[in-house]
Amino acid sequence: MREVYLDNAATTPLLPEVREAMIPYLGDVFGNPSSLHDWGDGSREAMETARDQVAQLIGADSDEIIFTGSGTESNNFAVKGLALAQQSKGKHVVVSAIEHFSVLHSAKTLGKWGFEVDEVPVDKYGVVDPEEVRKRLRKDTVLVSIMHANGEVGTIEPIKEIAGITSKLKVPFHTDAVAKAGTIPVDVRELGVDALSLAGNQFYGPKGVGALWLRKGVRIMPLLDGGIQEGGRRAGTENVPAIVGLGKAAELAKTDMESRVKRLTPLRDRLLKELPRKVGHVVVTGHPQNRLPGHASFCVEFIEGEAMLMLLNSKGIAVSSGSACTSRALKASHVLIAMGLPHELAQGSILLTLGIGNTPEDVDYVLEVMPPIVDRLRQMSPLYAKFTKTVKGGK
């Protein structure tokens, strides 16, 4: 059976070059980067090379990169660490309604610690209006955190415009770029933000490693206390093989970015155009143009996402869904609800995220397999039966 992996938003596969680069650090080169002997040097040098590679990917200085254990950790660190470091100035934090849970739940925790959290709404495409951010800024605002691109609907946010507002008022601005960094160009100086999160497994690097870029001079409270690793801001012996892999993946992402974007965009556009046409009663979620290059997301009417996901899986296609039934918490995607989609439509959420391994034939296959699967579930659906009866009755 054909196998088509279309869940690159969940994680990308590891590139062979990245794996090769990591192998020595899973073997002979095992020293602790903090050790002063040759064994330590070997690991430390590799780690510092990786730091340079990550810095170059986002136009930063190497000493501004803090390695972490994941995108989630980077976001927790930024939201909690920046707010706590500024709390003598105030206890007001602004986030968007469609942030990843690692930002939203960190903000919720700040709420328990006495901070006040304001959520900025989004429009029907999931776009944050910079004016809505400006309206919420106060004298005691100590942090704004708005994501660079949304992993569920692919929409890219106007970060530069928001940074123009926050920087004038000298409010620290963090952006979660986990879904975007390594996929399309990100330059921290041009953006004008103060902190930015990224993760290795979003651009063909290993899982369990991320980074937080923190502009020089911005104060942060460490979440992990211990040794003086990462300039005293993130204690704990570093995951050297994963960091080396992150560095290599960053280097390749920078070199190949343009060709990757050129390859993915037409495949995405074909899905966005053809799938609604072939299946019918399908809504594209997220911004129609201003979205991540490999990202196609939809809501299919009258059926539920998990059932679609499972039937696609049985045909060798991997996708994901934001339906309530797919989530462990059994809640529909907060992103889709924030965009104003009705709950029953959000249940039909399906997310196809392409990666550099995908081909035009993969897209052909999905377009061939998907309509009968949807049809089969609709034939089973009481909502579809009601809909067809109303249509017929109306005629």
Binding site: E304, L311, N313, A324, C325, L330, Q347, M380, P382, Y384
Partner: protein, 131 residues
């Protein structure tokens, strides 16, 4: 997909008794699309037995498998026997359901029950008219 038992997967991939019954003797609906699952059961009754049971379901894999299993368990049973089908029994027959799906997706027994009640209510009405 290891979150579901083989039996659940079988009933999800090959659901039994999908569809509607024309002029059914009873209809029962349970759940709503907002929370994710909705099931409609149709029954045909003859001599106090469920001669035919069909369903339509909007929902996840578990919801579809539950509906299919309930329809299979209920067919041919007397109304009294069919009313004894509980969500627990359905889950056991399916060799288990994931914990978080037990309540929200396991609505088949209730939907069937409502269909039977619908039938009994109609019978009473008709009985009332006749006398």
């Amino acid at each position: 997909m290891p979150i579901y038992s083989e039996k659940v997967m079988d009933h999800f991939m090959n659901p039994r008794n999908v569809g509607e019954i024309e002029n059914p003797d009873g209809i029962g609906e349970e759940g709503n699309p907002v929370c994710g699952d909705m099931m409609t059961f149709y029954i045909k009754v003859k001599d106090n037995r469920l001669e035919d049971v069909k369903f339509k379901t909007f929902g996840c894999g578990a919801a579809i498998a539950v509906s299919s299993m309930v329809s299979e368990m209920a067919k041919g049973k007397t109304l009294e026997e069919a009313k004894k089908i509980t969500p627990r029994l359905v889950a056991d027959e399916l060799e288990g359901l994931p914990k978080n799906k037990f309540h929200c997706s396991n609505l088949g027994a209730q939907a069937l029950n409502k269909a039977i009640d619908d039938y009994l209510k109609k019978q009473q009405k008709e009985g009332g008219k006749q006398s």
